[in-house]
Symmetry: C2
Subunit: 137 residues, 2 copies
DNA sequence: TCGCAAATTTCCGTTTACGTAAACGGCCAG
DNA sequence: CTGGCCGTTTACGTAAACGGAAATTTGCGA
């Protein structure tokens, strides 16, 4: 029961399994590897993806949906990989993380600006529509 | 005083003025025109950008910063241009606007997920840093 | 009316993020 | 031992969003 317990968490995925789970092509996974975003182990020359890789992939895809470039995503991933014994690296990660956080915050604000504009537009259209429908009665 | 009053709001921009204001190249403005996102008037064949064009440009650039493609941005701009007398068009605009709004909302949520993760990471790093510094004393 | 700077058009080049096809290797079932 | 399937590498292709340079065209001042 103890040996079996870890089985779920340390599951290993093939490239096809992972690509199906996240609805991307194997090519995309290999591409991310070429770009240095993932580095799965190998059995022979087959790729073996662990949980760690899967989590990183989630982050990559989330970043992609938000319009970040792969190199930008790599920067963010690097924050997670810093050597936790080097003081200067830790400080650097914190600083760069803060910068990213501010960027993200301003993105949220821009999104909310757009949403407010669209909501206003929606209300205008709605009013027009109702007036036209009322006149039609 | 009355004739002068509108001057500010109906200011006319050349392509170079507008490109400098928004820190983009004239080439980019022409590109947006080729893609149908802008359609400034002409004096001869010089482009004359009005307030309307400037506002549209702002929306375009904002969308671009958020990772939207130009065709997607065009869809959003079209929402602003719909014929406000046609009932079916109004209904269509409202529907498509609602879809967009939901997409935007989920983007905001994903951004906030990333921000939460980074904040957590930051706290972890901060603790590690402090522990190392304390041991150093 | 001439000339020249400024703006325009045209076309090819570039980057990013993969798609796609070709050719090959390993392994297991029949 | 031969498909068939999964996986790999290599290499060229492509769509989007411009950049850059060359070759006009236009407008305006001397």
């Amino acid at each position: 029961m103890n040996a079996n317990h870890a089985q779920n968490a340390s599951r290993i995925y093939t490239i096809n399994e992972l690509s199906e789970i996240y609805d991307i092509t194997p090519r995309t996974l290999r591409h991310y590897e070429d770009m240095g975003l993932l580095s799965p182990e190998r059995r022979g020359n087959q790729r073996l993806y662990r949980e760690r890789d899967r989590v990183r992939l989630q982050l990559i895809l989330r970043g992609r949906r938000l319009g970040f470039g792969l190199s930008e995503i790599q920067e963010m991933l690097n924050l997670y990989d810093a050597d936790p014994t080097e003081v200067t690296q830790l400080q650097d990660v914190i600083r760069r993380g803060d910068v990213k956080l501010r960027e993200l915050q301003s993105q949220v604000e821009e999104l909310q600006t757009i949403m407010a504009e669209m909501t206003e537009l929606r209300m205008t259209m709605q009013r027009r529509l109702e007036q036209i429908l009322l006149r039609g009665e």
